[in-house]
Structure formats: C-alpha cells, structure tokens
Amino acid sequence: MTALQALGRWWLGVLGRLGRGHLFLLRTLVALGPLMLRPRLWIRELYSVGVRSLLIILVSGLFVGMVLGYQGYITLVDFGSAEALGTVVALSLVRELGPVVTALLFAGRAGSALTAEIGLMKATEQLSSMEMMAVDPYRRVLAPRFFAGILSMPLLAALFSAVGVAGGYLVGVGVLGVDAGAYWAQMQANVDVFDDVLNGVIKSLVFGLVATWIAVFEGYDTEPTAEGVSRATTRTVVHTALAVLALDFILTGLMFGAL
C-alpha cells in the first residue's frame, strides 16, 4: 500500500511539474512582447549565453569535423569513393551532429549556468523582492534569458557545422590527400539547401527552445536551498540531453523519413 502511495505521489509530482512548466512557458512567451522594447536586456544575456559558448562550440566543431574526415575516409576508401568524403562530412554535420552536439554542449555550458543563476536568485529571495517592488521577474529576468537562448542556438549550430566542414577539409584534403575540387563539388551536388540546411536550422531552433525552456524553468522551480539548486542544475543537463535526443529522433523521422 505504501509502495502504491509512493507511485501515486511520484506521478502527481510529475504531472504537477509538467503543468507548472507549461504555464511557465506561456507566461514567458507573453513576456517576450514587451521585451522587444528593451533590447539591452537580452543583448546582455546573448553575451553570457551565446558569446561565452563560442569557444567550446568552435573547438568541438573543428575536432568533430576532423574525426569525421578520418572515419569517413577509412570507410569510403574501401569502396574507391574517397571523393564522396565532402558529402559524408557535410551531411552528417548539417543534418545531425551540428544541431544535436551543439544542443548537448549548450546544456552543459549555458543551460546549467542559467539554472544555477536563476535558482540562486530564488534561493536568496531576489525574485520575491523584485515582485515586492512591482518588477515582473518574468519580464526582467526570465524572458531575456529565454529569448537569448533560442536566438543563439541556431547561430551556434551553424558555426559548429561550418567549422566542422572546414575541419573535414583539413584532414581529408590536407592530411589524407582527397582532391580539393572533388571535396567541394561532391558536397555541393548532394547537400540541398532546403532539405538539409534548412531542416538542420529548424532542428536547432526546436532544440534551442527546449534546452532554454528546461534550463530557465528548472531554475525558477528550484527548491530554494543549496541542495535544491545543485539538484536543479543536474536535472537541467540530464533532462535537456534526454529531451534533445528523443526530439531528434522524432524530427529526423518527420524530416528525412519520407525521403
């Protein structure tokens, strides 16, 4: 009986969090309108969310591209089609690795910081005191961070893919001796702007929305203790990773399943 009660309590807790999360999303979206009148607020957040994630994204993109160059070459050279390396590198980056790896890195680099910052604001009652002064924390604190996250994710993913393609070029053409002209020509012949690049951008927009939503909500929904903040930060990273990978499966099925 106690086990059954525990199960019920857990499920009600999950449902409650889900409901709070959606109400939170709604209130944040409503607060986005007045935010546009004060661009200073979200430009500042764009700096801490986007600019400061730049280094890890660029370095990871370069290395992922270089590894793809090596692995793709090793597989393709057996079939005598090493020229297709450009296609392999570009398609894997633009369709999958760009959006997904960027979202995972984003969760670790920016999402956890967002949760910890907002959670600590709540634990030290800064959010409540804002409400006391008739400052809406949704407009002042949450919406700018949310907007900056959604805006920076597609830009970061595009940078990741572009740097990755360059990394694949470095290894494929520079080290392994694939023909430079064939690398670019095969790539351009087989990567489609709408089917591949645009779908990748749509993916990263969706991941941006989900990753920032989870990060900001976990911060806002924190138990206002030191332990609570630490738990919320962990949850942000874990939940974002799971949500992004599951969503990626669904989006890939929708976008490329019919091809």
Partner: protein, 152 residues
Amino acid sequence: MTTRWIEITVGLFVALGIGALFVLALKVSNLSEYGGEEGYQVHAYFSNIGGLKERAPVTLAGVRVGRVSDIRYDPERFQARVTLTLSAQHDYLPKDTQASIYTAGLLGEQYVALEPGAEEAVLEDGDTLLFTQSAVVLEELIGRLMVNLTQD
C-alpha cells in the same frame, strides 16, 4: 565588463553566426542552383528513365546547360514525361535535338545528354523533343546478352 564591450562581442557573434549560415547555404549546399537565371522548358518522353531524379544535370557535349525540373508519368502515352529547364543563353538548339539518359561513371548518377540535330528552327518554351533514347537498364542488357550467348 563594459556595456560597449558586451555589445561589440554580441554583434560579432551574431554576424559570425549569420555568416556561417551563408557559408552553409552557398558553399556547402546547392543554393546557387536555385532560381537566379531564368530558363525555358522543353519536354521529352522516355519509355524508361531508369534512376533519373529531379535536379539531375542536362548536358550538351558534357557542358552543363540546365537541369531536370519535373518527372511524371503520362497515362495517355504510357511513357515518362521529363521536363528539362534549359538556361536562356542556350537558345540555339535545333528542333530535332535528341535527348538521351546516360550514367556518369559505372554506378554514378544519371543525367540527360542533348545532341543537337540539323534543322534550322530552334527549340522554344514548351516544345517537345521528338527523338529520345531511354536509360540503359543493366538487367535488360544482361538478359539480352544471355539470350545471344545461348543462341550460339
């Protein structure tokens, strides 16, 4: 951290990101093939198009002059109707130009090769090519070869 510095780096970040999107669109993918130059369309009927796909190249002596813009089945002629979009600068093709479907390399992609005829009148928008040569299907070829071998 001054506001000026923050705004400069954010501007740089956004410019870099948008620049990367442009690189992906122009350098990595085939945006340059869309739109741009206007062309004219001619139709060609084939009894078998093999593995021809939309956006496959159309060549003239190996030089790319257009692309396949539409493929559909014509239920009245029981043939495949392939629409070729040729760029406007190649407006000198005779009416009796022949279209053939070839394969680039042994297993590569298929494309449409045009061979100019000898007539004075030139192709115009909406015309239909009179002479076509269908794709070579490997199985058919092997089948014919087997028949020839067993006859000997």
